[in-house]
């Protein structure tokens, strides 16, 4: 059997392996770069902000808890109104930087009937209350030191990190989500889309 020189063969084989890897890379990138699931659209140029079309929205689970000021609160009592639900913690750096945005948006949209509600996770009430005072947050937050609310939301929208902001429509379905620090334009775009329906 004719045999090529061993070294040359190794080079050929290595080159083949690399070429194969390259080919699969191209294939994988081509496939993974593809479209989004039906009923889900991203806001322009931002995969962190998601809008769910009507009919493709998960029901937001109900939860209840105590606010940072000690009042009992039940999420179901918000039914019938659009709610912006913000998951945050006083320890979370981007939550700190987005607080001003949320305060401005809340002050503006609360006049048009949109409710804002915070879920303060993995936090102590003293620090969270100080945060709310310090940033003049105009809406209540439920204290959830043990992440039970994210656990309840698990199958609807995975709350994988703070901050996460959800827009819940009047029928109690999740219509939009912003993963990471929310911007004013993302929030107003989502609220506009939800209000338009």
């Amino acid at each position: 059997m004719p045999r090529a020189k061993p070294r040359r063969r190794t080079v050929v084989l290595a080159a083949t392996a690399c070429a194969g890897v390259l080919a699969v890379v191209l294939a994988v990138t081509a496939f993974s770069g593809g479209g989004t699931a039906t009923g889900v659209s991203y806001l322009a140029g931002n995969t962190n902000a998601v809008y769910y079309q009507p009919g493709h929205r998960h029901v937001a689970p109900d939860f209840s808890g105590t606010t940072l000021t000690g009042q009992a609160l039940r999420f179901a009592s918000y039914r019938g109104r659009v709610v912006v639900l913000n998951f945050w913690g006083s320890w979370c750096v981007p939550c700190r930087t987005e607080a001003a945005t949320l305060t401005v948006a809340a002050n503006q949209y609360q006049r048009s009937g949109v409710e804002f509600l915070g879920v303060d996770i993995q936090d102590n009430v003293a620090s969270a209350a100080a945060f709310a005072r310090g940033h003049a947050v105009p809406y209540p937050s439920v204290s959830d030191p043990n992440d039970l609310v994210p656990l309840a939301f698990g199958s609807a929208v995975p709350i994988a990190a703070t901050p996460t902001t959800l827009v819940v429509d009047a029928s109690g379905h999740i219509a939009g989500a912003v993963f990471g620090e929310v911007t004013y334009s993302e929030l107003s775009t989502l609220l506009g889309k939800v209000a338009a329906r």
Partner: protein, 549 residues
Amino acid sequence: MTELRTPPPADRAHVDEDGFPAAEAAASRGTAKAPATGFGLAGWLRWAWRQLTSMRIALILLFLLALGSIPGSILPQQGTDPAAVSRYFKSHPSLAPLLNHLGLFNVFAAPWFAAIYLLLFTSLVGCVVPRTFRMVGSARSLPPRAPRNLGRLPLSAEYRTGLEADAALAKAARLLSGHGFRLRQPDGPGDGRWLSAEKGYLREAGNLLFHLALLGILVSVALGGMFGYKADKLLVEGGTFADTAIDVNEFHPGRLVSGSDLPPFTLTLTKFSASYVSSGAQLGEPSAFDALVRYTATPGGQARSADIQVNHPLSVDGDRIYLLGHGYAPVFKVTDATGKVVFDDAVPFIVGATGDFLSQGVVKVPDAKPEQLGFSGAFVPTAVSVNGTLESIFPAPDHPVVSLIAYGGDLGLNSGVSQSVYDLNTAQMHQLAARPQVLQPGQSWTLPGGKGTITFAGYKQWITLQITHDPGQLPALVCGAAALGGLLLSFLVRRRRIFVRVAEAPEGSVVQVGGLTRTDASGGFEDEFAALATELKAAHESPPRESGD
């Protein structure tokens, strides 16, 4: 003779069964041929497939896999430490986007990394599957025809018997098949009087088992990689842990695991107790750890109690929860200059390397007025003062104290870059007091300059749990055991052949017996052959009465 020198077709298939040379030989044939003869697309595809499934390519891919995981251990990874990635972006503004484009901050999810392991997987499967089929064929094949001259075989015997040739052959067949040999007899009356017997098919079965188990291991590992996950969680006494991606401190999901796939259990650490040896040479060595927990497998379900110990994990809903480590979490209450409580929580301190649980940690109070407060401190479970410095002499909290350094200023949280909760960035802060303050449980420290107070309210203990889910674990174990068993079988069992030829002779017949084994590395076939030949001869010499039945 020629029949012996060149194995029959059935034999040729398993000439190269004991390793990977079969695929390699095919590959080298392909290599030699490919550049020489111009063949079409199908030819090139076949050539590429042969290359891919060759041992050498598999090794190169394995090497590439190892090479590819190097950046994962050098550069900060998005999956394990996103804060470090952000810091890297700030410190290397021009280099970081380029590296990010190459997926080097998330190596194990990068397309090129996936390509390597997918190719490796294909290569291994492509190598093992055809071999498996070949082995099935080999295990089912009949022994070859008996060679003409048995006297040329490594082992042979010849004797005369009073029996007629046909009777002698029938008797030999009965005896050999009684010994578990697989027989091949002449195709027809004109084919001569001979007998081929083969034994040791367990070797092929073992080989087959080994290769199938190898495939099984691959599939199990892939299962684990796609559907498994691993998460770490630090839990303070009294704290509850919900199995969500947000609640775990580190989450390493498989490729097909999303945050919502975790079983929705909650677990509360009721109490943690550690016992230490309090005398003798092993003073301070841990003797027992018990994490008493209550857990509910599903939201709203019934709460159960459990005691998690080291190497005694708790199993919930397919997850295993291991106790990894423990430490102390002093409880601090901080008021600011306005008198408002701005912090009240247990703060997990990191255990030092000294074994006496001298632990360090930081307290950040970002919403204190008029300026942010930060404390860096040490927790000493059993403190003694040695020449004015605190030392810990025992890991149990017999005389706990904390020593705190207080800072005021800007914690650096507004820059948008994530920080570790265990690091205090004092670049824009100033020390409030020249000396560290030592506090015992219940004691408060009024900060200089009316900046507020900090109270060391007490302490709790924390544990770290590892939650693992590996659906491939059990299959991998079973397949591993099967692979080992198959390998042992294929090493220990030999394939061996006995040939018998009977020729008519005056007053009876001449019986020739030949023996052949392909791999007689461990020896012992000679004895077996001698015993069989003796037995055959004895059977053939027995009175004709017996030969009649």
